[in-house]
Symmetry: C2
Subunit: 352 residues, 2 copies
């Protein structure tokens, strides 16, 4: 870490700027007493920026982002009906490009049902697990193609690429995290009865890494079965490790059962620290409620806690989490009339 704490801020589109404004308030408050002064630099990226400039992620911006200690990210993406923007362009050319260029191989997504938060499950139990989603391989590599497009003979392929190098480092990260937790249990989620080659690489890797962690137990679930347990018995999970696409699906489901993705934080983490990690709410840009102060900034604020952990300020991270937890406990979700800013302010006040 440099002598100051240099954070790049990418508010993005839709509700991104609103929730990031609150996350920044919390970040400032939480680092107020820290030795390293906080330096924030804003970067304008996203669908709006593309409409104005035609740029997704220019090389200079990518290089500039690399000079920071971490990146705080809001959300990107145009309104679904906006035909000016090729669908998925911003997501791929900016968001995924950042994850891949900065080697964010651990996509960390905690799922915790905070006391006081209503779950859509009738009997959720004590839900407190983390998903360690692989972030740089799998079906996300952009290795697809198409022939005879637009004809009755069209064929389109998508290739999931999995390497021993890529799988091992994320599996090891999952076991390390499990080793620090109470239950010390890793569940591999895949579909190895169908995706044989990738599935067996994942399974063999889990067996090999498990041997290094005698205190950590592990089991295996097919992804279809995992969605069932996520519904009927989510408290069975401690640490889930899975590939990029299964992780995408399971973490949205995990967000839903723990009270909504308005509360779900994530970190795109480069554990080798060869480039800055990026912290972002799991939710998207939600253009339908943008600019109305209706968005819940909690997921963005919990992402700040993950950021603080990563940059070596675990105490500040815990304080943010506790402030969020106490704010949540005082909410009546059904009737919480607070604006985005009021929720942010309340969490800042709880921090003080």
């Amino acid at each position: 870490m440099s002598e100051s704490l240099n954070i790049a801020v990418i508010p993005g589109d839709g509700i991104g700027p609103e929730v990031i404004a609150e996350a920044v308030k919390v970040l400032k408050k939480a680092t107020e007493q820290s030795d390293a002064p906080l330096v924030l630099t804003d970067y304008k990226l996203g669908a709006e920026h593309w409409l104005e400039t035609g740029e997704t992620l220019p090389e200079e911006t990518l290089e500039a982002l690399k000079t920071h200690d971490a990146i705080l990210f809001g959300a990107v993406g145009a309104a679904p009906g906006d035909t000016r923007i090729p669908s998925g362009l911003i997501e791929r050319e900016m968001l995924l490009k950042l994850r891949f260029s900065l080697d964010h191989f651990v996509n960390l997504r905690p799922a915790k049902l905070y006391p006081g938060v209503p779950s859509p499950l009738a009997a959720p139990g004590d839900v407190d697990f983390i998903v360690v989603r692989e972030g740089t391989e799998g079906p996300y590599v952009g290795n697809g193609g198409a022939l005879r497009v637009g004809t009755p003979h069209e064929i389109a392929t998508e290739v999931s690429v999995n390497t021993a190098y890529g799988v091992e480092r994320v599996v090891r990260d999952a076991f390390r995290r499990a080793n620090e937790r109470d239950r010390k249990h890793v569940t591999l989620v895949h579909k190895h009865n169908v995706l044989v080659y990738a599935g067996h690489l994942w399974r063999r890797t889990v067996e090999a890494v498990a041997a290094e962690f005698p205190n950590v137990t592990h089991d295996y679930l097919h992804v279809d079965a995992a969605t069932i347990f996520m519904t009927t018995n989510p408290s069975r999970f401690d640490v889930i490790v899975t590939d990029n696409l299964f992780g995408d699906i399971l973490t949205d489901q995990a967000g839903a059962i723990t009270g909504g993705i308005g509360l779900a934080a994530s970190g795109n983490i480069n554990m080798d620290r060869t480039a800055p990690s990026m912290f972002e709410p799991v939710h998207g840009s939600a253009p339908d409620i943008a600019g109305q102060q209706k968005a819940d900034p909690t997921a963005a604020i919990l992402s700040v806690a993950l950021l603080l952990d990563h940059v070596g300020l675990p105490k500040a991270a815990r304080r943010v989490e506790e402030a969020v937890e106490s704010d949540i406990a005082s909410r009546d979700e059904m009737t919480d009339p607070r604006t985005t800013a009021e929720i942010g302010d309340a969490i800042v006040a709880a921090l003080a």
Copy 2:
């Protein structure tokens, strides 16, 4: 259809034979008054059969199966701990081989929350949708490979193959089914912002086919968002059309929210009728409770209703569904002490 109704029966492994015994009772009762006499032929296939003979699906058996009007299938698969059987072998070389060889391009999976069935969701609403899962393409084609296996340089790939021919026929089937339903709404589920080539083929196909069905509305959800709605608002769905893998995941989740896969039926349907279709419960062989008369045969029995529909006996199909519905309404799920056979007998009695 031949002059008799020729049904092949594959009980399979684990709880397969128990639930199929009840399904057969119901099939007999429901076709009692039909003009075409019912002829049942048993085929022994599955993990146990493989252990005895080393055969997964011999060519002669496949040819013999093709002579039937439909196939009633239980479940296959060894106990997870049974190391004598290469993992996934039976699933791929028998179950998936049947789906592919018999061109079961429509994998139909209704999801209905029957009155009286407790859902794990706190407020499920009125859940009654069908998933039309593609059955012969996508990541299920077995088009994977691996290099330098077991070394730190291993690379494993899985290719999802999607064709205009394959996508169009299943999308058209989904719109046809939607057109027959009250709400007449199709939701395409995919992940086209990441899986660009396959995703765009699916989207373009939906737009093209939608133009043929002016009474049917349609929308699109990314698979991650679909798992959220499945949790928070499943009554929004009417007909979901999706690829083989997303369909696998979503239908297990759909089974869970509608009271468990013990109730979830499915049809592997060749709508061109160039080969027999196959009907099976969504659940697996559940070796842990096999042979104990603990399995719920309802999913297998509802699969009989789908079979009857397909072989041109829709009235018999409705009668089976109504018998199941009335049996379910009389259950207390928490304390239902009935054996597999008792549930089957009760449904037969309700049919009478």
